[in-house]
Symmetry: C2
Subunit: 260 residues, 2 copies
């Protein structure tokens, strides 16, 4: 059997530590092609490049791996990979990350890492976003490698439901080793923003956005609980945003005489 073709992208940029770890693990499993942003793209959400040009350059950065850096967003990178770089070859797996920082709970909405994975799912490809819940500049990725490999192999073997991408978050390295995997729902939480005001040398005001993460969720079946309890969280994410329950409710509750 030929080796699986694995497309790797991320949002921290092609020189980041997380993508190096991800590429090294994927090389054990299959033929790897990388298309990743040429600079960090954190917080890009599902942005794409419209009305501006895109660059794409081959970059000899990973040993024995065909790799390209692009000026585009993570979602752009997956589109470029699928429809330009690979064209007639279909990846067996799309992996994104390993993000340096958490993408649990509501952070999935703002996550460039997950937008690359969701873009893969949109193309009908089994797709996984990996993130490490550790913001330290010296974050240790070594405890993840065996788990990244196991999860990727399992997805290659069993596939993922249509319209779904996996959001995998790893707990930070702790004294106790990782307890295992929990398949979770997205926790009910939000970022509570605060804006720090500053003045530039010309006296004009500017702002830094900062925020505190607020977790409203008391359950034990969500990703925040899993990470806090030293489990790997896997949330299956869908790109059909329809709130089906709300369709019935609106049809029933609204005053349709006023809406003619």
């Amino acid at each position: 059997m030929s080796k699986p073709l694995i497309l790797v992208s991320n949002d921290d940029g092609i020189t980041s530590k997380g993508i190096r770890v991800l590429v090294s693990v994927m090389k054990k499993i299959g033929d790897v092609v990388v298309v990743a942003p040429d600079s960090p793209q954190s917080g890009m959400g599902h942005a794409i490049t419209i009305g501006e040009t895109l660059r794409l350059y081959e970059e000899d950065i990973f040993e024995d791996v065909l790799a390209f850096k692009s000026s585009g967003t993570p979602a752009d990178c997956v589109k470029l990979a699928k429809h330009y770089v690979l064209k007639d070859r279909t990846p067996d797996l799309v992996v994104s990350g390993i993000n340096h920082g958490s993408n649990t709970s509501i952070s999935v909405l703002y996550s460039g890492t997950m937008s690359a994975a969701i873009e893969g799912a949109l193309e009908g490809l089994p797709s996984i976003g990996f993130s490490l819940c550790d913001y330290s500049s010296k974050a240790d990725f070594s405890h993840l490698e065996e788990w990244v490999e196991k999860i990727a192999l399992q997805v290659l073997e069993r596939g993922i439901a249509k319209g779904v991408a996996l959001n995998v978050n790893f707990p930070p390295k702790r004294n106790e080793s990782i307890k295992g995997i929990k398949i979770c729902r997205q926790a009910d939480a939000k970022w509570q923003e605060e804006f720090a005001e500053r003045y530039d040398p010309t006296g004009r005001k500017y702002f830094w956005m900062a925020g505190n993460f607020v977790n409203f969720d008391k359950g034990e079946d969500n990703d925040e609980w899993a990470i806090a309890n030293n489990y790997i969280s896997i949330v299956p994410c869908q790109y059909d945003l329809t709130a089906h329950h709300a369709i019935t409710q609106i049809n029933k509750d609204w005053d349709w005489d006023k809406l003619k």
Copy 2:
């Protein structure tokens, strides 16, 4: 009863035609505050500004309306409005748009218009994104005004379920008038990308992303069908991306002996 407080944002920028129409309608209903991007932000998805500064300037652009332009994304604008501009005042309604172009189906993922509305929903506020399915530079917004007003009034009266924002798309102006409103699900469709290659004056390659919209959906309960048949589509969208059906399936299907 005091007038409702209405926050207006968009992704086409504060000088666009669509936001002028939206502000003029909202002024009939309530007290309006605008915080919108200082330049077009189409395709920004749910991007936010991390690690870079934000500007926010008051702009006397709409008669008798407090308005600010920001260097940030649509999601940034709603965060700035809620946590800085309005601070102790809570909007009764957040409206975004009217986007110049469709945000039906999968386009919701890439939509800056909808990211502003979803950000509003995240803040627990009734939130609506409005878009006109007409890309023509001379797009006529006049047939929308009565409908925008009716929908906004209905939402102020009846509210929206927690965790849900409304994605409202209007058909383009046609000879036949709009038939009414359909509460829909997001159509199963995608953009099929093509990349046009060009060379700059120094001989280096660059790309333009282009794409064809491909609709796989044969149903009549989705937003694409509604627009094609001259109805206004309203898709209730949720920010909990969890594919709940897939949780059960993964727990059952995966080979857990290999994942210890």
